[in-house]
Amino acid sequence: MLETSALACERGGQRLFSDLGFALAPGGLLRVRGANGSGKTTLLRTLAGLTRPAAGSVRWHGKEIDEDYRREMLFLGHAPAVKDELTVLENLEFSSRISGLEISESKINNALQQVGIARLSGLRAGYLSQGQRRRTALARLALSADVPLWLLDEPFAALDDEAIGRVSVLCAAHLAAGGMLVLTSHQDVPVAAPAAQTIELQG
């Protein structure tokens, strides 16, 4: 269960939003909406523990977020965290192991299949297109089914319709299995969720 109470965030001395409170239970989807610069990314980075809130707190299972929380959370930001010099397979191997997941090569190939880039696994990431790079980053979703909380910042940006469909299927499966999902998105992508709520940030 992810909760915030009286959360306020600032960027460069400017208050973005304040007094934000929500609770997300297993199976819950939280959509964050708002104009450019309204603080969607800052909110997600705060939930991930990268940015300190100006006021209020983020709680995971009733406790302030700590080291244990990091094992139970997956954050995918704007930057894909994909290295040009490594192959697609090596990139996923590193990013999953560093976040504490035990994975095998067959699991990764299976994940690449689910985002539709299985044939690229041996290719250096430097040769990928922007969309293929995003798909590589999003393949981590397929590897992180057991990670309860997903925080996704604009996961559908730079993706074609087919990839958007694949990612929303992965999200829906995660929610159906009792996971939690917070996502920011400009597009109205349908994600089937047992319980959905929306936060509208006023810029």
Partner: protein, 221 residues
């Protein structure tokens, strides 16, 4: 420990696939050291006297040249962010990246230094002390350098700033390192200097990662 080896292996693999970066630093070091005889003249006694200082200053400059890249690439592509929110303690991440930096720049540089010493006509035992002093000293350069690289992350003109920030901090390493070789050449026991370098290494392996972690947290906020 698992995270440590993971990051060291990845960074070494990246260094192997970007050989240019590693070679540039090494060539820079050799070039700097080779310019001095052209400037001060070929008198053997004089060259022997400046050899240790030249090798050490070359090593400091080479370290400063290589350091801005330590975190910059991971910062730009979002990998650093992922490491920060991973279950690995940040100090371990920093220590692993520092170790990989030393293995790919400091170590080759220390191993190349006796060749420079040979060009300057250093006797055999002084060459051995030069190698030992650099093997103890270059990790200090990487450890303190990590803090400097983290502090200047995302700042414009980071390359120059790293130099201004770090070169004063490198002075003790330079004094003890070059001092050890000079002592050996004048027939004195260099072990006191090497012990001081060792102490410096112990202190900087605590201070460096700690300061770098704090700076990275601020840079990524």
């Amino acid at each position: 420990m698992h995270g440590f080896t993971l990051i060291v292996c990845r960074d070494l693999r990246l260094a192997l696939r970007r050989k240019g970066d590693v070679l540039n630093v090494l060539v820079f070091f050799v070039l700097v050291a080779s310019l001095f005889p052209l400037g001060v003249g070929p008198e053997p006694g004089q060259l022997r006297a400046i050899a240790a200082g030249v090798a050490w200053v070359g090593a400091l400059l080479a370290a400063v040249v290589s350091l801005p890249r330590l975190f910059a690439a991971d910062f730009a592509d979002g990998t650093l962010e992922q490491m920060l929110i991973s279950p690995q303690p940040l100090a371990v991440v920093v220590l692993a990246k520092t170790a990989a930096h030393w293995l790919s720049t400091g170590l080759p540089l220390a191993l190349a230094a006796p060749l420079i010493g040979l060009q300057y006509g250093l006797p055999g035992d002084a060459l051995a002390i030069l190698l030992a002093s650099l093997l103890l000293g270059t990790p200090v350069l990487s450890l303190l350098g990590a803090a400097g690289a983290a502090l200047t992350l995302g700042v414009r003109g980071a390359g120059t700033l790293v130099g201004l920030l770090l070169l004063p901090l490198y002075v003790p390493a330079l004094v003890f390192g070059a001092g050890a070789v000079t002592a050996a050449m004048s027939g004195l026991d260099p072990s006191a200097y090497l012990a001081l370098l060792g102490a410096l290494l112990a202190v900087s392996s605590l201070v460096g990662p700690w300061a770098a972690s704090a700076a990275l947290r601020i840079a990524l906020d």
